[in-house]
Symmetry: C2
Subunit: 456 residues, 2 copies
């Protein structure tokens, strides 16, 4: 019962595992904000040291952006690569946090104990489940659970600009039999899952320019172009009354769900009332001819993620601003082409600009949707390991988010990727008061020990 | 030739007049921002001291907001009240200013010398034209030019919440034969004007609430309500393709221009290409069946003055925010009822809210449009004085802005008000790099000396 010794070690070492995670969570590695560049490097260095302590030959590799952490260790017939990311989302609005996002704390909640901090779930807590499984294995056996490559990115929350060049430049070093990715969630609180369908992402930032300076709405209002109104009018047209996206050719390449997957999803008995109810909502707002699970997993979206212009302080200022801005993102599915989506959106916006206005664009990365093939027998092996740990049959599921790395492993390194994660819907990733359940962290470590025992 | 002595004194004292104005401009009396409350009091105190130095019995009078400055002085048959305001607009976006907005400087420009500072034109420079005229008069005669009451407000740029209660509580003290208001502009660079038509103003701030916290657009996008989209959709509907405002009953009470006024305005040969060209625009964007001068002076508007929600920093954040906000203002004309406009707007917005969303309102003041009667012979007397100074016939004009005080003098004190000001269209009031032309300041002082000589 060798695995039992590893699992027992995981159980007894849990307090120390949490201490290590808290150390990593204290580093404010916000990749999108240049002010935190040094912190991203600090997080990378921390992980290099931790990997070295496990016997990995590890280093932080410089890129034009934040470092990649790469470590190699162990021996075995099967070569597994593990991917995670050490960077985190920004923390604003800071005033909605109950405590400093980078001062992690274990808290008791009605639903159990949680680790509260930015990055607790996305993705520091998740990536540490794998390293802690390796640590327990090493403590019991004196060696790593197989031939492993660890590959940790620091730009996942800011469009991964260095990722593809790095994979291309280091393809021989990174290629393995399969990639394991820990950045996804359980299906529900009790049901483990392997995610096989991911949405792609296109991020666009637009600035509408009108007058060459801010104007007084008393002097100019009624005659001068108002870029906020122009922006609102255009973005307000982006969806119609039925929730359909109106950008021409937007749905090109959107594929319908195979009947088998649709049937499996129906069997999951997804409770959208509960899902929305947990965040104070009740009505699915997307395409009205689709089920809520399709809206979330297999249908594309167009969302405004940020908007700003004019006077936004206390009181009132009767200004017609010179500019107005928005950040818009699209979640893609099936064969939607990110470059075409970007081009069609820009053309559609520009066609609606009134005279006197112009638009300036900034791209914030794009990636196609990903659909994993489950033909690789590793999927069924891993599914059984997850089922053993959670005592509930593990599910193959879709995911509304975008984890482009999964597709990149296939495209650039010819490897299958398997997405196993332990997040919960209420983890508030990307939001104030992000948390990761202790149960998820603990069972996550144990799950990886089981998966590694079967795969290696 | 007594007036000539006063005018000569104004000319020789101009450098000292400018020094005094610069002192006042250095006080950052931004009334809408609570952080500058002490500065508003400092500006009021500075004016009280200046009025005392001219022989006025002056004091700063406390209100629930910023102080009112009231001074009485001089003797004569006719009692004139002068109104101005010492508060200024916020200065953001600060990065678009070429220098510190509260470090005034005399600058040479291709169009002449200017005083560059927040408040230079609106309204510190303008109000000081009157005080400097009094000062020159006193220097020559040893007394003020008639029986004068000076009434200076510190909340004009933030909705004047204390104004009506103060006028009501001090009606006997403030009532005079006519009110002179210096907060408007010339018709064009060379043509002085008396403004007889002012637009009213309704200011509304709205917050759309959706989920009870910020959400990740990957996890929730497509199913959860996005308050930014809701806001954009509603505000985008506020005007139609012809520039008409779509809020029900919005045009109730809008009166057509009398033929005589329309004819006079046509004779002014307003050059809208030049007016818009000066700020980098070319196309009048308002109601397409109206002339540009009507859009600016006699037609109502609906403008978005500020909008914000979601992530607005560097980079990208795939967030669905819990809230989105906008500040909206309406310029009113004729008999439009501010309370009805506010109520109809709110009802119209609320009717468009999707399920799961709510709206929170904050009122930012409202005032009806004002139309001055020019039956009072003081108007023709003043017009002649202005014509004498500028050597161009002075015009009766409209003004797109809102100066509710003019109507309040009539409503609460039974006095006519006469709006005489020396601002130019390119003064950039409410915008970065506000300025006031030295010529306007100088001729403004001389104009008041001439008006006071004729009126008192």
């Amino acid at each position: 019962m060798t695995l039992d010794a590893v699992l027992a070690r995981i159980d007894t070492d849990l307090p120390a595992s949490l201490d290590r995670l808290m150390q990593l969570l204290r580093i404010p590695s916000i990749s999108t904000d240049p002010a935190f560049k040094a912190d991203c490097a600090t997080a990378a260095d921390w992980l290099v040291e931790d990997l070295k302590s496990l016997g990995f030959d590890a280093s932080a590799r410089t890129t034009p952006g934040h470092p990649m952490v790469v470590g190699h260790g162990g021996t075995g017939d099967k070569h597994l690569l593990f991917y995670g990311h050490y960077d985190v989302q920004p923390v604003d609005p800071l005033n909605l946090w109950d405590r400093d996002p980078f001062d992690p704390e274990i808290q008791d909640t009605p639903k159990g104990r949680v680790i509260r901090a930015r990055g607790a779930a996305d993705d520091k807590g998740q990536l540490m489940t794998f390293l802690e499984a390796c640590r327990a294995w090493k403590a019991v056996y004196g060696s790593l659970p197989g031939k492993l490559t660890i590959f940790l990115e620091g730009e996942e929350e800011s469009g991964s600009p260095s990722l593809i060049p790095f994979m291309q430049a280091n393809a021989a070093e990174l290629r393995a039999d399969i990639a394991l990715i820990c950045d996804t969630g359980l299906f529900d609180d009790k049901t483990p899952a392997i995610t096989t369908m991911l949405r792609g992402l296109v991020g666009e930032e637009m600035t509408i320019h009108a007058a060459n300076k801010d104007l007084h709405s008393g002097s100019y209002g009624g005659a001068a172009a108002n870029p906020i109104r122009v922006l609102a009018k255009i973005l307000g047209n982006m969806t119609d009354a039925r929730g359909h996206i109106t950008i021409p050719h937007f749905y090109d390449g959107v594929t319908e769900l195979p009947d088998a997957i649709r049937a499996q999803w129906q069997s999951l008995s997804f409770d959208h009332a509960q899902f929305l109810g947990d965040v104070g909502l009740s009505i699915p707002q997307g395409e009205q001819d689709r089920t809520p699970l399709e809206m979330l997993w297999s249908r594309p979206t167009a969302e405004i993620n940020g908007i700003w212009g004019g006077y936004t302080g206390d009181g009132f200022k009767t200004v017609l601003p010179a500019q107005a801005h928005a950040k818009v993102s699209f979640r893609l599915v099936g064969d939607q082409d990110p470059a075409a989506i970007s081009a069609n959106f820009r053309t559609w916006v520009e066609a609606q600009l009134p005279g006197d206005c112009s638009v300036e664009w900034k791209a914030h990365g794009n990636s196609p949707a990903g659909v994993m093939s489950i033909d690789n027998p590793a999927f069924e092996v891993a599914r059984q390991a997850l089922t053993d740990e959670w005592q509930v049959p593990a599910a193959y599921i879709g995911c509304g988010g975008s984890i482009p790395i999964a597709g990149y492993f296939k495209t650039y390194l010819g490897m299958d990727a398997m997405l196993i994660g332990f997040g919960r819907d209420d983890d508030q990733i990307h939001s104030p008061n992000e948390k990761y359940d202790l149960e998820c962290f603990h069972k996550g470590i144990r799950s990886w020990a089981r998966v590694l025992a079967k795969l290696s």
